[in-house]
Point group: C2
Chain length 690, copies 2
């Protein structure tokens, strides 16, 4: 956002407190506001600094960020970003979650099933090409036609030899204001090097999640391989055990997943009252089921843990969003911003004539979205809930059907390249827990019936004469999709094999597909298309009024955020910026989730208790930034971002510099732990050698 816009926004924040939104912004690497930062902090990174950091930043296919920290492909990320890999590699006899994992030698490093790592190599502007494709197209067809155009541009940029080594993604920025082609070097063999015990990675558990003070070793190391060897990565971040002090400048380079800062207030109300509400209600019920299921026995506890962690994390993250949107003061900030922009548009007759009233267009589409929402949610968007097997069945059915169509008639996201990628994922072998599959499938079917009612025609077709409970149990018990060979045969057999299959999950997914696809198409035509066209007009107004010195909403692509190490004050309580290893031992009451790791208790006397453990800073981040390097002025990695405080969750809609904080684990504490507790000499030596 440019200075005018920031000024208006800052004023509203100032009315509430003395803070300002100076550190707001998730900046793309091709548009970092160096001048603005320099004017605030007397320092800004130069191009060499930016290039090095971009080439050291890593995106993980599990939805996390990370960074290269040695010249042989060593990757720093979070314990919670490696935890699905740890769960996949664990069994009842060999529980790496419980004990932690450390590869003594290179050959002990274990492949993380399905995990990929990517490094962004270039950003190319394709706005003109994409906009040309949809020029003059009626609103209901825009989503489909644009999707085809984008697929062609992506395929063109990643063809021939590049196909296997690179990924090309078209990114829509500023809600359709810009389209840029992001090209990534991809590494498909990622191995686990080190991950601490769960009790260290997630000390304080759900109660402390998104809170502070914190004492978590939420860090892990992976390594990128190619052709069975570690990848050579001469460009990487330098490791240091120094920790920046209060007020010192720090950067976060990572992939914030998504934000809604450019949405209209009507869209935010829809978000609050429909999408967030419905998802949180269903998620809470799932959470309750998992909590109770876990008490069955040790195996249930182990098999549910990873999923429960994910569910609880999503719950609290979205609760933070609800909390922001239900706060009248917070919402008033958005309303003022919007009123300000609308007034400026009205004051500019030429602009007004060009864009008309896109806010009213969005409101009209939202009225339709309200009508379509529940059917879209339960028949399409959340079909299958946490059942991975049903998810696979659904993808197999849809891939077979879509591939049989010409590209222009396919659903968005079903280009040959995308299908190929999905097929690869479908052949990944990870543990399958049938009890959990039944819970997921049953939850979906029963909630779909509840929200749409037993008399809804789609529900009648979906359930037939069966109950959600009976159908879920029967389909999971009878499916062969647990076998990779069965999935492979269905992929190879294409539509004929899918149509002929008697596998109960395929039969169910086939039965569901007609209604699911229909509501998808309807939502794109009646809601997404018109909204994206209107949003483009608002983006146009923004550029016209505020110039281009603004940042786009997060898109799970590489961004750079700057800020300073700084605590905060809320409701009369002052929260300091840094905790220490000594504080960890004080908080460890011995009761779950405040149980100290035996390895730490054993090494307690050898540890420097004053070592900074976790640290907060004003950087503007959001979910997806997990694992991002925290970087100092010199470009050294000083920590791994693993959380935001509860106030940071409102950052989905607006950044509030008074309260919004990023939480990182320091490289100082990681090093102390690797040296004295885990005796990870090989790793310590690799980090020291730069």
């Amino acid at each position: 956002m440019n200075s005018k816009f920031l000024l208006a926004a800052s004023l509203s924040a100032l009315l509430l407190s003395s803070g300002a939104r100076a550190d707001e912004g998730m900046w793309t690497f091709d548009a970092f506001p160096a001048a603005k930062m320099k004017s605030t902090y007397g320092f800004a990174p130069d191009q060499a600094w930016l290039t090095k950091v971009q080439q050291s930043a890593v995106r993980l296919s599990v939805g996390c960020s990370a960074s290269l920290v040695s010249d042989t492909g060593l990757i720093l990320t979070n314990w919670h970003c490696a935890s699905s890999c740890v769960a996949d590699l664990s069994s009842a006899e060999r529980d790496y979650g419980l004990k932690g994992f450390l590869a003594a030698t290179l050959t002990d490093e274990k492949v993380c099933p399905g995990m990929e790592a990517e490094v962004l190599v270039s950003i190319t502007d394709k706005t003109a090409q994409v906009k040309a494709a949809t020029k003059g197209v009626e609103a209901s067809k825009v989503a489909q036609i644009r999707s085809v155009a984008i697929t062609k541009l992506e395929e063109e940029a990643c063809k021939d030899a590049d196909k296997d080594l690179f990924r090309c993604d078209m990114i829509s920025l500023f809600r359709g204001g810009q389209y840029k082609l992001y090209k990534y070097r991809i590494y498909k063999d990622v191995r686990l090097v080190f991950s601490p015990e769960n009790v260290m990675g997630f000390f304080g558990g759900d109660p402390d999640n998104f809170n502070f003070p914190r004492y978590n070793l939420d860090s892990a190391f992976l390594r990128a391989y190619e052709n069975g060897k570690p990848v050579s990565t001469p460009t990487h971040l330098t490791w240091t055990t120094e920790t920046p002090k209060d007020g010192e400048v720090v950067f976060v380079a990572g992939n914030p997943g998504s934000t809604e800062r450019l949405r209209t207030t009507s869209q935010l109300k829809f978000e609050r009252d429909y999408r967030l509400l419905t998802r949180q209600l269903v998620r809470s019920e799932l959470r309750g089921r998992l909590i109770e299921y876990r008490t069955k026995n040790d195996e249930a506890k182990r098999s549910a843990e990873e999923t429960l962690f994910g569910v609880e994390n999503s719950f609290k993250a979205q609760y933070g969003q609800q909390r922001a949107l239900m706060d009248p003061h917070f919402f008033a900030i958005k309303e003022k911003e919007e009123a300000n922009l609308k007034a400026k548009v009205r004051a500019n007759p030429k602009l007004l004539a060009t864009i008309g009233d896109p806010w009213a267009e969005i409101d009209a589409a939202l009225t339709k979205q309200q009508d379509l929402f529940l059917e879209h949610e339960f028949l399409e968007a959340r079909a299958g809930s946490i059942s991975g097997l049903y998810g696979a069945a659904r993808q197999l059915v849809r891939i077979a059907n879509e591939r049989a169509k010409p590209l222009a008639e396919r659903l968005p996201g079903f280009s040959d390249a995308a299908i190929g990628q999905t097929e690869k994922q479908l052949l990944t072998e990870t543990p399958i827990y049938k009890d959990m599959e039944v819970i997921g499938l049953e939850l979906w079917l029963s909630k779909a019936r509840e929200y749409l009612t037993a008399d809804n025609p789609s529900i009648k077709r979906l359930l037939g004469a069966e109950s959600p409970e009976g159908l879920a149990a029967r389909a999971i018990a009878g499916t062969k999709l647990t076998d990779k060979a069965a999935r492979e045969a269905l992929i190879k057999g294409g539509k004929a094999a899918i149509d002929a299959s008697t596998d109960p999950l395929i039969v169910l997914a086939r039965r569901a597909e007609t209604d699911a696809r229909a509501i998808n198409v309807k939502m794109n035509q009646e809601v997404n298309g018109p909204i994206s066209q209107a949003a483009e007009k608002i983006a146009k107004a923004r550029f016209a009024i505020y110039g281009t010195n603004v940042y786009p909403d997060a898109t799970f692509t590489l961004r750079l955020s700057y800020g300073v190490v700084k605590g905060w004050n809320y409701a009369g309580v002052t929260v300091p910026a840094t905790t220490t290893i000594g504080g960890y031992f004080e908080r460890a009451s011995g009761e779950f989730p405040y149980v100290a790791a035996p390895s730490w208790l054993a090494a307690k006397s050898s540890l420097d208790q004053s070592t900074p453990f976790n640290i907060v800073s004003t950087n503007d981040i959001i979910g997806g930034n997990s694992g991002s390097p925290l970087i100092d002025k010199q470009g050294r990695v000083v920590g791994a971002v693993f959380d935001g405080n509860i106030h940071s969750l409102g950052g989905n809609y607006a950044y509030d510099g008074r309260l919004n904080r990023t939480v990182s684990v320091t490289t100082a504490s990681i090093t102390e732990a690797l040296r004295k507790i885990y005796k990870a000499d090989r790793l310590v030596a690799e980090l020291k050698s730069k």
Copy 2:
């Protein structure tokens, strides 16, 4: 609401459709709008009709309505109003929920533990006395002082010999606009006569709950006893097997629990974004736990069933409220009503000078309520969740503490009479399921920590060094409050016994009490007091502008609603008003919850398939009306109200005559089932004899 107000409101409804809100209103028996009804339907009940119905209407202590239907105390209500009694009387060996219950003779009728029945005998206006007590009192002290004045007036009206036979409740109507003393004849020995199998009482289960078409025999019979003999009730409703046809006038006499129709739009936003949201999220998690817990074994299934039913019922009822408040069109109705009233106040300088701006006063109190909400919710309002044992511990502690204080310093609701009533309830013996107690206590403690954070001082005091899981398991395992004798000893021992108790639940409740009481007092002083004073001013404005021909918000006291038998049309689907017994057999797929009762399948050929089973009408009802008699013009009982459709749930905030429908089970189908399926000849004979 008087005609002017209705006109404005009807106009907004008319803008949406051709329906109107003609049948709106939950009228008190001392202010029934006979003239208005007569002008609409050409008929209105006379005073004799009203008196007879009032004397035949019953309120049950389980939060239900009912009616006298014979001259020997026979009471018609719902299966779901008797289901807690059925559960209390059942065991694994003798499961009356599974098999149904029918007392072959009078001596087989079984006492429902703790259940009481009440008949309203008089309504006396005490507005002047109550208002005099708080005249000139500052806002923060109003709630406390009014509570003391009300207690004195109640005690005065129910003293000496009346004390045991009557209950005197001061009812605040029109949000403090009026105070009326309701005097009830109470029957403390209520016995179970008949209740059908759960699969008949709740056919269609949660999926069909609050939906229509329905096919439920949601009915049961109880009997009021005194001195071991059936009570003589010469005044009662006449039984008939005739069912009113489409368009015929019907009445509902019952006790709607509560509505929020007179609240300001700011209050409704608070309701939507804070109270409803938080409760529904926690309730969903509990629901998930109960659903999963139930799968453990048959005993778990049986012990959780009643609670799960209650939780799912509350969930859907409140989801209906959320659904109404998130609908922009619905909310606009309330906004227009409020704007209309505000404009009329502004146009009346004298009135404006008297009341000022009570809406702004409420907004100021709401800002405080937002700050206090979570602590009040988790430390006080919902403490203990579904743990009945913790609830008992809490009441024992509070009663002991409050009784030691002079009345003027006690919390509202702790008069000697109220304490005596609570003590009696504390000595009721009902089954206790320790697993469920642990789930409830753990849920409360863990959600309190989650929403208030582990660093909250009250949470630190509540949990000490323990985890919610550990503390809940330990306290429930160790408590002696399961024994009636232990509870009795603590009641008799008073504060000294409570202070000296080492029972782990008493220790926990004692530890929690200081913070719980403090937030209760704070909420009364800073929020409830100021809001009630402002609400009185709005009530004053309403009376000044619209006259007194309006109805008050529901207060779980006797009301009469009129309407007609009528289906509805929504989203292109027309729903007819009546279902038949034949339709029941068609819907019974055999899969839960659509399993036909074996008794019905066995008798199928003998049944008149065209018998009207369930029926909808436009009567304005809400939760608490369950079990209310549906009454025809002649004053005969033609059905028992057991539900509303999904649209009726928005009735908490506004009545929408286009869609809002009451659902009843017909006396025709009840009689058919009693005669041909249950062979309840004794009961059929009693109903026939008038």
